[in-house]
Structures are given as C-alpha cells and as structure tokens.
Amino acid sequence: MECAFDAKNLISISLRKIQSSRTQRGGIKLHKNLLVTYVLRNARQFYLNKNASQAQRSPPYEDVTAVHEKQDYLELTGSFTELADDFYCNFTGAEADSWHCGAHQPHGQLTEVPHQDASSCALVSPNDSDLMLSEACWSCADKSWELPVPNTQANQKTVLDLDTHVVTTVTNGYFHSDCCAQPKQPQGAQCHRKRKMDTSYFIVDPEFYLPDFVPVPFKRMRSDDDSHSDSEQLDNTNISNLISVLGSGGLSEFVSWQQTDLEQIFGTQTICLKHTLFTGSGWTRAIEAF
C-alpha cells in the first residue's frame, strides 16, 4: 500500500534519476525522463494530499494555485520547462542552422549564447554586505540587495544561500554567474554565465531539489545536520518544509515562472519563506527570495 513515506522516497529517487540522466551516454532520454516526471508528479500529489493539514497552516496559495486550477492535473505543464530547455539546448541543432542554447523566455524567443559546461561553476556571492540574516525580512522587497523591479520582459528572482551568503540573480532564465568560481565582484556586478538555464529552483541539499532538468551547479551546503543526515533518505521535516513552500501548485509554479505574476508570488510566499526559514531544519539553507 502506498504511503507518504513511499511518496517521499519516490520523489527522492525520481530526482536522482533525472539528475543522473544528464550524464548518461547518448544524451538525455526523453522517453524515460517523461515517465520519471509522471512518477514525480504522482508522488508529489499523493504527498500533498496526505499532508493537506500541514499545507493549510502554510500561507494560502490561492492566488497562485488558482492560476493552475484550470490545468488538467494529469497533464504535465510547466514541469517540463527545464527538461525542455535542456533538451532544446541539445536538440535545436537540426532545426536551426546553428546550435544555440535557448532557455524559455516570456516571448518565446531565443538568444544565442555560447555553451559551457555549467558543472564547474560554484556559487560565489558578488557581495554579501546586505545579506545579513538579521535583516532577513524577506517580505521587504525594497531592501537593498538590488532586487530588480520585476517586469514581464525581465523576470528576476534572487536566490540566497544562507550558508555562504551567496546571492544569485536569475533574469529571464539566465542564471547570472554569481556562480563562477571567482573572487568577489564589485557590488552590482554580475558575470553572465555562458550557459543559459531556467533556474526556477531551490538551491538545497543536492539530494533533494526540484526537477530542474538543466545541469545545475551546486555545492553541498555546509550544515550542522550534515554529519547525521542520511543522503539516501529524506527527513520528514525537510520534505514537508520544501513541499509546503512549493505549495500545491509547486512544480508547475516553478517551471512556469515566466507566466506567473511575480508580485502575487511575492505576497503569498514570503510569509511562508519566513516560516520555513525559522522552522525548517538545517539543510534547508538556501531559499528563494523575491
């Protein structure tokens, strides 16, 4: 009989399969990854249903989920963006005169960008003077970490690693390289990564992150819990926290970020982020700030 534990286990296994598929010989197997995302979706839905009461304690996501209510839940929407991006990067060569890697942009156009193996990058903060935890009132959008004004043409998100105080800014699916293994850069400077990727994801413990199908550079977060955390099993609290932050429309929400009103997300999720920050266990270090 399927149980919540099996669902969490399946989520973990599925994410690992997706990640390992990137390094498989012959390229990403579209068929297999599609099936894995179905399992991921089923497990997530089962887990959310089982933890409905916990989700109710979290800030309501009516605004966001309402957007997706109309979506046929059996239909994969959005969650394939990352895979599509990565796959598109790999397979547009035959459809265009020259290969280019194009993450999805709101207007659907592509931008030609050189390609680089992203795995060599690490997260480095351009500056961390403003990223004091004591100031982590995430709902204050006007704080001075230079959060760009979101707009439909240049949607931006800022990802904060609370361990290393690394700030990474995402613009239109471009993962600005804060992540290059370079010394600190002057405030405001952003080095652009050579490879574009859709980074609607949480930077969390490598054993558990959203199905970002693009090779995401990450490093293991130094955590007090690392010494006793089992990399093969996920802590109940960790998963609950993550899924509560994700919300009932989590996967779709993340991968279709370009279609979502960022202001709505900002208002509804910041409270939850605070909740997660202060109640989550140690491994939930990096959260997404808007």
């Binding site: 399927e2 099996d6 669902a7 399946l10 296994i13 399969k17 010989r25 012959g26 390229g27 197997k29 579209l30 068929h31 297999k32 599609l34 099936l35 179905y38 399992v39 089923n42 497990a43 089962f46 239909e75 994969l76 929407t77 959005g78 969650s79 394939f80 963006t81 895979l83 599509a84 796959f87 598109y88 990067c89 790999n90 397979f91 060569g93 035959a94 459809e95 020259s98 290969w99 999805h104 659907g108 390609h115 193996d117 991968v255 279709s256």
Partner: protein, 403 residues
C-alpha cells in the same frame, strides 16, 4: 529453440537447439545484444549489439537424412555497422548501439538490411562471392599493373572458384533527419519506402534517396512544456502500403493513412483502452507505455506490448483490445523496486507465429511466454543454456511468487 512436429498449435513442442555467443557470464558491455531480427525466410538471423556490430547467422541447409530437422545457425557475416560519434555542436555523444535491424525483401542473390542507432540509418548489402576473375591482360595476379609494352597476347579473363567470402558493404547512409532518438524502422510493403520513428517524429524515406525524407508525423508541441507523450514504436501495415501505426508512451496506438494528407498528425483511428481505476498507482503511466507494436501477418490485428501485458487489437475496433494476456502480473506488487533499479523502463518486444495463432514475448530470468490464442493456453519456457542438451524438449515453467 525449434518446434517439434505437430499439426495444431497445441501439438507444438519446443526444444533447445543451440546457443551463440559468449558462454561465460563476464560479458563486455559492447557485446550485449540489443536487437535481433530474422529475415523473411528465416534462413538468416541478424543481431545487433551495443558496440555497433551486426552479426548475421545463417541456417544450414536441411539434411537429406533428417529432412524434418532444421539445420543449425552458424556465423555468416560480421561487420561494424555504426561507430560512436560525437556531435560537437551539441556536445552530445551518439551511441553506436544498434537499436533496430530490418531486412528488406529479397530481390536477388544479395541480402539487404537496414540498421539504425539513435541517429543514423544505414542500408547494408550482404553478398556472397565464391568466384574471382583470373587472367587479366593488364594486371598481374597480385593486382599489380603490367607494363603494356610487355603484353604480346590477349586472353579473356575467366571466373575461377574461390573460398566463399561474404561481403557486407554500406550502400546508403540516411543521416541528419532525426533530432531525437530513433526507436523504430519499418519497411513498407511497396518495397520502395520505409519509415523511421524517433520520440517525437516519424519520417518517410525512399530506399534510394538519402538526402531527403518526408516528415509524416510530428507530435512535438509548440511549447515543450505541453509535452505529455512520446512515440515509442511504429510499423507499416503488412499489406496496405498507405497505412501505418505508431504507439505512444500513454498506451495509445494511432493508425494513419498517408493518402489522407501529407502530414499524418491527425490519425484515422486511435486505439486506447480506458485505465482501470482500481489499478491506479504511482507507476500507472510507466507500465502503460507501449514498448512494441506488431501487425499480424494477415493484417487484421495488431499486438501491443506494455510492461505487464500483451494486448491484441482488432483493427476494426478502437475502444478496447479483443484479447489481453498478462505476461508477469506478479511484478505488479513490486513496481516500486523495479522503478528504483530501472527495470520498469525495460522494453519488451513481441511477435506473432506464422499463422497468427500464437504470440510470444519475453520476460525476466530468461523466461519467455507464448500465448495460444485459439486454445486459450499459455506456457512459460526458460531459455537457459545450463542443463540444456541439443534437441532436449523444454519443460514448461511455473512462476511461484512465494511468501
């Protein structure tokens, strides 16, 4: 395996015949067989492996002393069909693994087959040479050219017998037409065209033309976010050159008529069985994905294989299969473990016997199953080389789930 003498299907006895390949368990990755295919007469058996090689076995002629016993298969030809490639533009390695082999109908003494890896299809000619010309006027026997001034007489070269040599030569290379991984090739009954299918598209080729192909099916959505299924197999109808079917990862089969339109995105028939809600699980989508589709020889039925079952469809009825056979239902309770070790993604094939009365498919642990449609019987055999003497009759196996 060979079938013993018998009239009806139930009288057929299956016997062990021979085993080809490495006998030990330490097999190199490249030597793992990835596809097998008999030619139309059954005289030749082609195997493709992960190393891109094709090995063809030929059956010995029937012995006059024992006319009812078919000869054994021996190696006939071996050649390297595909090599590993690297797409520098996309930073992708293209595996040399042979995904499918299909024999072309024989028209002359030579044999032709199509072999494909993930990206490229090749047409090979396998021909025999047992004679060689001797007595050239301008060439020595070793091939060196003579000085024309030394030639004083002329003679007509003659063909002299030589040791049989089987040559495999690539005649056509059909490349750069598939963005995604090729999973199927199928020869058309018109003996001129064939189709190749990848995850999202199906192309129609002419056997003589390599620089172009026609895209006849394209299920790639405008936005990849909307992708919900992929093509898993495709096959031409055995008699109707305008008809083909393709199966999907959602468990549906679509039949298309190329006379209706150039682009067959709109199917003429769609075969789909409603899902049983009682069997709903995390893995419902995976186990419903069709891994193989085969038309019956008479062209009236088709068979599909998904992870746990075989279904026989009447081409005139789209709502449900006419027959369903459970191959290894005992695995349904173990799907979670099978998912974890990736076995759930294994793709099984299926086939019809000559008169469409029996269908066969494989399972795990060297088991294969045969379902007699007429007598409604099924039998499980083990293809094991251990404790198997040539001509020994296979004993049916029973699967015990245990406690």
């Amino acid at each position: 395996m060979m079938a013993g003498p018998g009239g009806g299907s139930s009288d057929v006895q299956w016997c062990f015949s021979q085993v080809k390949g490495a006998m030990d368990d330490d097999v190199a990755e490249a030597d793992i067989i990835s596809t097998v295919e008999f030619n139309q007469s059954g005289e030749l058996l082609a195997t493709g492996d992960k190393g891109g090689r094709v090995v063809i076995f030929q059956q010995e002629p029937e012995s006059k002393n024992q006319p009812l016993r078919r000869g054994e298969y021996n190696v006939y030809s071996t050649f390297q069909s595909h090599e590993p490639e690297f797409d520098y533009l996309k930073s992708l390695e293209i595996e040399e693994k042979i995904n499918k082999i299909r024999w072309l109908p024989q028209k002359n003494a030579a044999h032709f087959l199509l072999s494909t890896n993930d990206k490229t299809i090749k047409l090979w000619k396998i021909s025999e040479r047992d004679k060689r010309p001797e007595g050239y006027n301008l060439k020595e026997e070793d091939g060196r050219y003579k000085d024309p001034s030394t030639v004083t007489t002329l003679r007509v070269p003659v063909l002299m017998p030589m040791d049989l040599m089987v040559e495999a030569s690539p005649r056509r290379v059909f490349a750069n037409a598939h963005t995604y991984h090729i999973n199927s090739i199928s020869i058309n009954s018109d003996c001129e065209t064939y189709l190749s299918a990848d995850d999202l598209r199906i192309n129609l080729w002419h056997q003589e033309i390599t620089d172009r192909s026609f895209n006849i099916v394209d299920i790639k959505p405008a936005n990849m976010e909307d992708l919900t299924e992929v093509i898993t197999a495709a096959e031409f109808h055995p008699n109707q050159c305008n008809t083909f079917v393709y199966s999907s990862s959602k468990g549906t089969i679509r039949m298309c008529d190329m006379r209706a339109s150039a682009l067959c995105d709109k199917h003429t028939k769609m075969f789909e069985e409603p899902e049983d809600p009682n069997n709903r699980s995390f893995f419902s989508e995976i186990i419903s994905s069709i891994s193989d589709v085969k038309f019956s020889n008479n062209g009236r039925y088709m068979m599909t294989r998904d992870y746990l079952s075989i279904k026989i469809w009447d081409l005139c009825m789209e709502t449900r299969p006419v027959e369903t056979y459970q191959v290894h239902e005992y695995l349904r309770s173990k799907l979670c473990s099978l998912y974890e070790n990736d076995c759930i993604f294994d793709k099984f094939e299926c086939c019809w016997n000559g008169n469409d009365s029996v269908v066969m498919t494989g399972s795990y642990n060297n088991f294969f199953r045969m379902f007699d449609r007429g007598y409604q019987q099924d039998v499980t055999y083990e293809a094991s080389r251990e404790n198997s003497r040539p001509r020994s009759i296979l004993k049916p196996r029973k699967i015990s789930t245990g406690c």
